[in-house]
Symmetry: C2
Subunit: 345 residues, 2 copies
């Protein structure tokens, strides 16, 4: 499970908590703080929990930074973390800071819940569909962005993407990583989700397998569609199947939720995700221009099976456009449009 | 405060939690795990909380260790942490491990409490006395032990201590650091403690000052006695006031509680600490031979004052013997003997 659930001595309540810490992967300290916070909270959201009672922040300052660098970088990172906590309706009270060779940022999220506040991730049934709430490809985007300055790496991918597109893909990845999965958590209750997990270090196939193994019923998860940040699939291919993106093994940071939903509910789930007003407004510092909901995709089905997960041969790649470049299209589009249908091979 | 207290939405309950992580300071991985766990829990105990609902473990494996070293060291460290959690009546469910240049070990302790489960550390009154539940000097003992192998350092202190004594002092420091402050937390309720904190990185004077600043009443803490692991004061002097041990600035790890108690209760608090059966039995792997309670000392008084703390000129140094060497004396001693009286200058 993404979070631990501890029964308490008081009135049927449970303590649900999770911790995560890692190393910076984007250059903007403020966005890094936001991403770290969204990533910690994501483990609660994966259980359909929408509230968090408290967060602790875990930090290490790098001993290699001079005082000026510390004073510039660390407050921004902490502000990003706190701002995202506030966006999530919680606050950061407590934490610990140490000095280390490397910068570390992470945290702890805790909530005391009643039994129906959370959804145990074990009740998928054959006939459910799989929904994903953020596109894949964050690792490829972050690495491609670093390769802009490494000629031998850049030469491998420059035929399939421009420098400008790499920059846009990187921005898109940052926004996605900083986006809270909170709306999805709330909609899991409304549309009777049977199980969910969040996509992080093990890639979509790793987390799909973990989730499949926890199911009470004999089910298998079959993934047909891979929504990927635009051009990241091409980069992965050009680099010789970089990170295994198309096999679903590429790490994601603060990825979306993978949710098992009753088939008849999934389209409405996606539509409500899209029309929700939560999302990136805070993260991009805009006044809601990018705040018109989050895309979600039906990416697969739950079959009878042996608690395993697989991606079909030749899955459909859904190229997810950079929002920076498609605002005009989004504004003109129908927010309630149906999500892409699952192609059953 | 040593822990954060978050009011919950449910029936007057509060979530109290704390986190701490640091780098190994003793060579024995198992003991290091025990110390880390005792250190995390100590922040709850300082608030008079005796139960913990859940712990998370925070770990980083050093990238400089080879696979064999990792397989030897990390499981022992984790076992030490878990064993101490078990001794404390709680368990470790959840956590995070990363790879880092340095080993990191720490954790999170959380508990959901009713209002009278914890003691807000703000109610000291003039006339209270200050009690300390572990001797000072852990930093000096740990460093002196490292200096056994560094001739230029060893030469500075070898006139005041033998190699054997350094080894004993180091063992004594390890045992103290691995000892839970849980008995003290329970006795805080029984004897109406007005405020407490645990002694860690800022040394006794730093934490005494922090505690003084939080008081509702106009008080000052005046420390008259310094219980110190035997010979550590001499080492500190020989090294040219090493770490400021006699000024109270020497860091402690997983130190004792500093407690403000009504004067008429303090002697009985110390006596019950001494006669308690909790303590080192687990930590030393012995069958209770060292388990006959913990020493506590009345070290000072609470006066009317300006929310400050100080150590008197020429405080009385209480040389706390190594238990390994004084078992026979302890066995013959009266466990209910009164603690040393405060010397009012």
């Amino acid at each position: 499970m993404d979070s631990c659930v501890i029964p308490l001595r008081h009135g049927g309540l449970s303590l649900v908590q999770t911790t995560d810490f890692f190393y910076p992967l984007v250059e903007d300290p403020y966005m890094m703080g936001r991403i770290a916070c969204a990533n910690v909270l994501s483990d609660l959201y994966a259980m359909g929990i929408t509230e968090c009672d408290n967060m602790l922040m875990l930090l290490s300052v790098s001993q290699k930074m001079n005082e000026k660098e510390r004073d510039q970088v660390m407050p921004l990172m902490m502000k990003g973390f706190r701002d995202t906590a506030e966006e999530a309706g919680t606050s950061v009270t407590g934490g610990q800071t140490v000095v280390n060779p490397w910068i570390i940022i992470g945290g702890v999220a805790s909530v005391v819940c009643q039994p129906n506040d959370f959804i145990m991730p074990d009740s998928a049934v054959p006939g459910d569909v799989l929904v994903l709430t953020k596109p894949l490809g964050t690792q490829v985007a972050v690495n491609a962005h670093q390769w802009l300055d490494i000629p031998e790496k850049w030469n491998k991918i420059k035929l399939v993407i421009s420098r400008e597109e790499v920059e846009q893909a990187y921005q898109e990845a940052m926004l996605n990583m900083a986006t809270l999965n909170r709306t999805a958590a709330a909609l899991m209750h409304k549309f009777n989700a049977h199980a969910a997990t969040d996509i992080t270090g093990f890639g979509i196939i790793g987390h799909a397998r973990n989730l499949a193994q926890q199911q009470k019923n004999d089910v298998a998860f079959v993934i047909h569609n891979l929504p990927i940040i635009s051009k990241m699939a091409a980069i992965s291919k050009a680099g010789g199947n970089l990170f295994g993106l198309l096999q679903g093994t590429s790490s994601e940071t603060s990825g979306g939720l993978l949710i098992c939903l009753p088939r008849e509910q999934a389209a409405r789930f996606c539509a409500e995700m899209k029309s929700s007003r939560v999302g990136l407004s805070g993260a991009v510092g805009q006044d809601g221009g990018a705040g018109d909901g989050q895309q979600a995709w039906i990416i697969g089905i739950v079959e009878k099976g042996n608690r395993c997960a697989r991606i079909i041969d030749k899955p459909r790649i859904i190229e997810v456009p950079y929002r920076g470049s498609v605002v005009s299209v989004q504004e003109g589009s129908n927010n309630n449009a149906s999500p892409p249908e699952v192609q059953l091979t």
